[in-house]
């Protein structure tokens, strides 16, 4: 049985002391323990940004790729070996800016992976430019007079497209976040958690601002109700709802047809194609005897 500390490693963190990213890291580690995973069963994929450094800080397989491009890598990994617990750890810039197109199309594919977005409403690693979720009006280095354009609402886009697990977490509630993560990983198909992660260096609001506003969804909130979920993520209210916003019956998972052809086996385990098979296909290109 995996122990808590199986996922611990001793890589020195590059995050600012006190950054809420540490809470997300802890939540992920706890969730993996709760899920009884061992490090070799887990693969974390990230792009570039502060959030994207997370995979370095726990014991597991990891693919820290290009800015904005975690999702394509994750889809390739998942297609190759669906037995891995594949999780994308990304930022609002990484996933909604540079990588916006991949997110849209990941929704279409429904791969069995979990996407965790550290949403700090900012480009933190590059020192505080606006991100696609920065509220309009907020002053940022390139947006010296305040952000002039509207933010994206990715949870709404996910809900519209029938993503089977859409949640919002808060880095200030690591236990709640851990529960979300456990449920997300258990969900077969794409699960997506947008995590409110206030940046204590570039953020404009104190941590308490978020603490005060965040509110767990009521127990009687019906996660199966798509239009209600949509309303929830579109309404502007004093409170920010956290929890599972939408959960749908499981759709077919990416590649399900292909899996049948290869007897559900991970691709690296397949036997090589027989040379005879190629030769016989080649006969189709040959003139009649």
């Amino acid at each position: 049985m995996p122990k808590e500390n199986e996922f611990e490693n001793d890589v020195a963190s590059q995050w600012c002391p006190g950054c809420p990213n540490f809470n997300i890291l802890d939540a992920i580690k706890s969730a993996l323990v709760e899920l009884k995973k061992s490090p070799d069963q887990v693969c974390l994929i990230s792009g570039i940004g502060q959030a994207a450094k997370l995979p370095h800080y726990l014991q597991c397989n990891f693919f820290n790729g290009l800015h904005g491009r975690a999702l394509p890598a994750a889809i390739g990994i998942h297609a190759t070996n669906p037995q891995l617990t594949t999780m994308v750890v990304t930022g609002d810039g990484d996933c909604y800016g540079e990588g916006g197109n991949h997110f849209l199309h990941a929704l279409r594919r429904n791969p069995d992976i979990t996407v965790v977005v550290h949403n700090n409403e900012i480009y933190a690693l590059t020192k505080g430019q606006a991100s696609p979720t920065t509220p309009a009006g907020e002053k940022r280095s390139i947006q010296a007079k305040g952000v002039q354009i509207a933010p994206l609402n990715m949870p709404a886009i996910a809900i519209i497209h029938g993503c089977g697990f859409v949640a919002r977490g808060f880095a200030g509630e690591p236990k709640h976040l851990k529960d979300l993560l456990v449920a997300a990983v258990r969900h077969r198909g794409l699960s997506y958690i947008d995590v409110i992660q206030p940046c204590i260096t570039w953020g404009t609001r104190p941590f308490s601002w978020y603490k005060d506003r965040v509110q767990q969804l009521d127990d009687d909130y019906d996660t199966a109700d798509q239009s209600r979920a949509l309303e929830k993520v579109m309404e502007s209210s004093e409170k920010i709802p956290i929890g599972v916003l939408y959960q749908a019956s499981e759709r077919k998972v990416f590649g399900h047809r292909f899996r049948e052809i290869v007897d559900q086996r991970p691709l690296p385990e397949l036997d090589p194609i027989d040379a005879e098979e190629i030769k016989s296909l080649l006969q189709g290109f040959r003139s009649a005897p």
Partner: protein, 558 residues
């Protein structure tokens, strides 16, 4: 025998491809080698395209431009392609055109005698086979095969249509048609570059392809997707960035993976090429060349992306660039691409071009033996403390994949330590890691095959070319010999890194390239210090041919 060249011309959507396919299969089944070449516009209907069939007793895999027989499906096609007809050649056309040698009202015949216009093309096929002097039987067999899963009536009508056309051509031909292609017992494979690459990939053990449609490489993923039992996971990506991203992800996860595109799509992949170099994940990228810049001439051919591909990617890392000469070579180069990508844990680009990918080449044998698929994974059981990027003088660290064993596999696009973790230690970690990656080149360079030398001994002039121009270069030697010139060929098909090689002394070198700026020449000059006496460039979107080379050589030499 003298080679016979048949050109079928018509608008997109009129059916020249179906006619071409049936005729060439029939000629093939008659025992001859055929080389088929298409040139077409970037549109779905209309315009004027052509489909050429070169018929010979031995494979001659390079186009002839002049036509013995031109079959033109409409009046405009007659106008546009008539100049190609040889002195004693003939024009076969339908009702709409003047001055034909043989005018057969295909549509009218189809309508009147078979009840439907759609049989017109089969009438035309019959006429062409008739004019070529091929047994009707061979054609009927091919028609039977091709329409086997159609309703009996359709098959029967097509048989009749073919017969009708055959007979009418026979009549019209009389003294006009000297051709006679009796059944012989040659047997040939007839295959295109893309088909060979798809098969080569499957043979090499590729299990994953992601691609975004782009001429002239789309057929590779299409073939693999259609032939599902090859067990290749084929995914159409949302864009080229995702395509290569998925392939690299798949490769990291332990399977052989590839993507295929054209120059413009490859341009979008460049950041990922650099990523593959950094994280040392093998990946194979087929780049089908077509004339640029930008969208350019999307359905035409070119060798214009050589230096771009060689230098693609920011930062410094090693890659391998191969260029296929013909489909048989493309098959083997594909296997080599996967093997060397794995061996050195680098990105490998395989260059093709529209000419190679769309043309049908003949081969007497298509021997797939040669370089065998070989993997270069480490043995997890033999390793105690696994480090993905363990320093090693060879530059090559042990490669495992996630989930394979208890060993954890971490890769990182930042400069990293031996376990793949981000480093800022410039002197002790970053520099040795960069040196490790760069050390690969020493062995890699030795694995690269030197250029092929042909007829160099006697030659005082040497034609230097690369990739799909090979057959044209070889045929040009014969033509030049007839002009009294002793020429040889040096042909490159492994482009980067360039192997140790010395150009022979006391010869005059000419580069022959399908581009305007002489990219091969620049490359060879910087690597081998060779001086070129002359240069022949073709960059109108059409392939190099022996005739083009000869004409330009004679015009340019002093």
């Amino acid at each position: 025998m003298h080679d016979v060249n048949v050109v079928i011309a018509g608008a997109a959507g009129e059916g020249i491809q179906t006619i071409g396919a049936i005729v060439s299969k029939t000629v093939l089944d008659q025992g001859y080698a055929v080389f088929t070449w298409q040139e077409y516009e970037s549109r779905i209907r209309g315009g004027q395209n052509s489909y050429s069939i070169r018929i010979s007793d031995q494979p001659h895999n390079t186009p002839l431009i002049e036509a013995d027989i031109l079959l033109a499906l409409n009046a405009e096609a007659v106008e546009k392609y008539r100049p190609l007809i040889k002195e004693n050649g003939i024009l076969i056309s339908g009702e709409s055109s003047e001055g034909s040698s043989i005018r057969i009202p295909f549509s009218k015949v189809a309508k009147d005698e078979l009840g439907k216009k759609i049989y017109a093309n089969t009438v035309a096929v019959g006429a062409l086979i008739g004019a070529l002097g091929i047994d009707l039987k061979t054609l009927q067999k091919e028609i039977k095969n091709r329409f086997a899963d159609k309703a009996d009536e359709i098959l029967e009508k097509n048989r009749l249509a073919a017969e009708k056309g055959y007979e009418m051509a026979d009549e019209g031909c009389r003294d006009l048609c000297p051709w006679n292609l009796p059944k012989r017992d040659g047997r040939f494979y007839h295959i295109s570059g893309n088909e060979a690459i798809a098969l080569g990939a499957a043979y090499a053990g590729c299990r994953f392809i992601a691609a975004y449609p782009m001429t002239p490489s789309t057929e590779i993923i299409t073939y693999l997707a259609e032939n599902e039992n090859l067990g290749v996971f084929a995914e159409q990506a949302e864009d080229e960035i995702a395509a290569i991203g998925m392939a690299i992800g798949a490769s990291y996860a332990g399977t052989r993976a590839m993507t295929a595109t054209a120059g413009g799509g490859f341009a979008l992949m460049v950041e990922h090429v650099s990523l593959a170099g950094m994280i040392e994940v093998p990946v194979v990228i087929v780049v089908g060349q077509r004339p640029g810049p930008a969208t350019g001439l999307p359905t035409r051919t070119s060798q214009g992306d050589l230096l771009f591909v060689i230098h693609a990617g920011h930062g410094e890392f090693h890659k391998l660039v191969l260029a296929a000469s013909d489909p048989l070579d493309a098959f083997h180069k594909t296997v080599r691409a996967f093997n060397l990508a794995d061996k050195y844990q680098i990105p490998v680009m395989l260059l093709t071009d529209q000419f190679l990918t769309d043309s049908g080449f003949s081969f007497e044998e298509f021997d797939i033996d040669g370089e065998k698929p070989a993997t270069f994974l480490a043995d997890p059981d033999a390793i105690e403390d696994y480090k993905r990027y363990q320093l090693d003088d060879s530059g090559i660290s042990p490669r495992l994949y996630p989930g394979q064993s208890k060993h954890l596999v971490g890769v990182d696009s930042d400069e990293h330590d031996e376990r793949g973790h981000i480093t800022e230690d410039l002197v002790n970690v970053a520099l040795p890691m960069a040196q490790k990656r760069l050390a690969k080149n020493k062995k890699l360079k030795k694995d690269v095959m030197p250029p092929q030398e042909i007829a160099l001994d006697e030659a005082d002039t040497v034609l230097v070319g690369w990739g799909s121009a090979r057959a044209a270069l070889l045929e040009a030697l014969d033509l030049l010999k007839a002009d009294g010139i002793n020429a040889g060929v040096i042909h490159f098909s492994e482009m980067w890194p360039l192997p140790d090689y010395s150009f022979p002394a006391n010869k005059k070198f000419w580069t022959i390239e399908s581009n305007a700026t002489g990219q091969l020449a620049r490359l060879l000059r910087s690597e081998y210090n060779v001086i070129f006496e002359g240069r022949i460039h073709r960059y109108d979107g059409l392939p190099l041919t022996a005739d083009f080379i000869r004409t330009n050589f004679n015009a340019k030499r002093k």
